[in-house]
């Protein structure tokens, strides 16, 4: 039995190694367009994991994710840039993430008082407030036109178009290629830490909060503390995503961080399956990549016109919106536990056909995601 367990562990390790190698290949084969899709997807995945922790696991509805992304993005630009303190970019990135976490911490007294849909509305105010500040605080944010993003430099290596010139295996490494590996490293960090959280003591406590706050308190969970901690942790991930987005865009503008962005992130975690890291990632890739792919291949799709042409039915951006609107409805109707749930059920079916393997560790399964239609249990 321990042999089989060991086998399982080895094949798991091998699987992870294979995946890591595969994810390192694209910069050598794909052009900048695909690398940008990957980069935006990775950034979105980091942010979506943060929201999945807050909304999926801890059950706190947030429409303010765009605000925390903006704090991370603008925090980095201001801290590393001119005008601004002009800190070393690595330090600025770290401080920007912490700044987003601090913003979450400042908001947490509000989060500790209001619940459910009311919390959603309260976080909505953050987005409007944030957008207003981004537009008006010209000296820090650059106003309507935004600011250009200073490239990240770590130990003399720039994640930008040169300095030093770099060619790996005959492929010239420009900004996209370099940022790909930065994004990959940050995403791996997010994956590792978020899964550790979910499978550990804090994840169980957050899931208990979602299912019944009274019961969680009676079981020894400090309700107020965990409610605010969920906000801080989620904001830290949002800040990290914001920094990576800024680096990928090379220019930050206020209009990007609007309510629509918050809604996009909610769509990601719903499509992916609430409360799971893998689900949030899948949802993030879907929601991010779809509009970009539609724009690129617009001319080959029926009823969709190429960008810029006046006649025709729908533009590619609108078509992408329709498509993911339809995806959300389909997911809610047929798979309330999202893409992650579909995969899990398929895996269970395969497992049922095979003889059962004993010795699987029950606690390594993360807290189950909340089905969208599930209501809270009543407690006395």
């Amino acid at each position: 039995m321990s042999d089989r367990l060991l086998d399982g562990l080895t094949s798991r390790r091998a699987g992870i190694a294979l995946l890591a190698v595969t994810l390192c290949l694209p910069p050598f084969y794909l052009d900048a367009f695909w690398l940008r899709i990957g980069l935006f997807s990775m950034a979105a995945a980091i942010g979506a994991v943060g929201l999945a922790l807050l909304t999926g696991t801890a059950g706190q509805l947030s429409l303010g994710h765009a605000f925390f992304l903006a704090v991370g993005a603008y925090g980095y630009v201001w801290l590393a840039g001119e005008p601004g303190p002009g800190l070393p970019p690595g330090l600025a990135a770290l401080l920007a993430v912490l700044l987003a976490g601090a913003a979450g911490g400042l908001f947490s007294p509000v989060a500790g008082r209001v619940r459910g849909i009311y919390l959603g509305i309260a976080t909505l105010a953050l987005v409007f407030l944030g957008h207003h500040v981004l537009l008006t605080a010209d000296s820090v944010t650059g106003g309507f036109n935004g600011r250009s993003v200073p490239p990240l430099t770590l130990g003399g290596f720039t994640f930008g178009a040169g300095d030093p010139e770099l060619t790996v295996l005959g492929v010239p490494f420009g900004a996209e290629e370099r940022l790909w590996f930065l994004g990959l490293a940050l995403f791996a960090f997010t994956w590792f830490t978020a899964r550790g959280l979910l499978r550990g003591r804090p994840g169980r406590a957050l899931a208990a909060l979602r299912d019944s706050e009274t019961a969680a308190g009676v079981m020894g969970v400090d309700v107020a503390r965990h409610r605010s901690a969920a906000f801080v942790v989620s904001s830290l991930y949002a800040g990290l995503a914001g920094v990576l987005l800024a680096l990928a865009f090379r220019r930050v503008v206020p209009d990007y961080f609007s309510l629509a962005l918050s809604v996009d992130y909610l769509a990601m975690i719903v499509i992916g399956g609430l409360g799971s890291v893998a689900g949030a990632t899948a949802g993030a890739v879907f929601v991010t990549a779809l509009p970009l792919l539609m724009t690129r291949y617009a001319d080959q799709l029926p009823l969709v016109t190429a960008p810029g042409s006046a006649e025709g039915f729908v533009g590619p951006t609108e078509a992408a919106r329709y498509l993911y609107g339809a995806a959300i409805v389909l997911v809610l109707l047929y798979a309330p536990d999202g893409l992650h749930g579909i995969v899990r059920r398929a895996r269970d079916r395969v497992r049922l056909r095979r003889p059962r393997t004993p010795g699987t560790d029950p606690v390594t399964s993360p807290p189950q995601p909340a089905a969208a239609a599930r209501s809270k249990e009543h407690t006395p």
């Binding site: 003591r201 994840g203 208990a208 009274t214 009676v218 079981m219 942790v233 606690v363 189950q368």
Partner: protein, 267 residues
């Protein structure tokens, strides 16, 4: 690691507790003392204030007057999670479990006994990993004790009603409580499940030596398990004593069966 206290649990004292909900007096000067290591039953007709009394004991409800003390500590002003940390665990009348496996639920019960915080868990520090493994070992033991051993990896949602009730009990035990509050542990169970649950509760008391406060409508179970019984009616304590004394108390008969029992007895 093993946090069971070998010494007798502290005395749980309830003194003149009064709870009012907007004009309605749910509890009116209730006092009783839970002798260490005993099973103390709280009975009464529906709406007598039994669950409210539990909510006061576990900190979910602040009394307007009166005190609850555990040993030398006053519980009345403490938040629920602080009371839990002192070793007071409870189950709910309607099952309250978290989604996930039985093991997830039981590990949640060990929250107050473990330390790993957000940073340690996120970075999977060796200390957090080791702690989780050690607590999982104890969770397996407790699951065995409550007959849930083979369900440890099953999602709670797939278990039968009786098994889910036992998950709640096991989760409460995972706190290594010194005082265990059981709110209708056999409600809605069939005869076989009831008998099994009664056995488990009896074993717990014998093996772990904890004090148990029990709210239950099943008089058979109360009479079999309880050492002391407090009877509530409309929030007022109307009788105290051993099960036999309480059974013969005219006030209790009146509360349960109606006012004319005494008249018929006299006739």
């Amino acid at each position: 690691m093993n946090d069971r206290t070998p010494a007798a649990p502290p005395v749980l004292g309830v003194r003149d507790v009064t709870v009012r909900f907007a004009g309605l007096t749910a509890l009116d000067g209730v006092s009783f003392t839970v002798v260490p290591g005993s099973v103390h039953a709280l009975i009464g007709p529906n709406g007598a204030g039994k669950s409210t009394c539990f909510n006061v004991l576990s900190g979910l409800c602040r009394p307007a007057a009166g005190t609850v003390t555990l040993g030398g500590t006053e519980l009345t002003r403490l938040a629920p999670h602080r009371i839990a940390a002192l070793g007071v665990a409870r189950t709910f009348q309607n099952i309250v479990t978290t989604q996930g496996t039985v093991a997830d639920n039981l590990m949640l019960g060990r929250h107050a006994l473990s330390r790993a915080g957000f940073a340690a868990s996120a970075l999977r520090l060796p200390r957090a990993v080791r702690e989780q493994r050690e607590h999982l070992d104890r969770v397996r033991e407790i699951a065995g004790l409550t007959g849930l051993g083979q369900h440890l990896g099953s999602p709670v949602a797939l278990l039968s009603y009786g098994d889910r009730k036992r998950v709640e009990l096991a989760r409460a035990l995972c706190l290594e409580p010194r005082v265990l509050l059981l709110d209708e542990p056999v409600a809605g169970m069939n005869a076989a499940e009831r008998a099994r649950m009664a056995e488990v509760i009896g074993d717990l008391r014998a093996e772990l030596g904890l004090s148990i406060v029990l709210v239950e409508h099943d008089m058979g179970l109360v009479m079999r398990l309880a050492d002391d019984v407090t009877v509530l009616d409309f929030g007022r304590p109307i009788a105290h004593g051993t099960p036999d004394e309480v059974r013969q108390d005219p006030e209790v008969l009146r509360a349960y069966l109606g006012a004319d029992v005494q008249a018929e007895d006299a006739a």
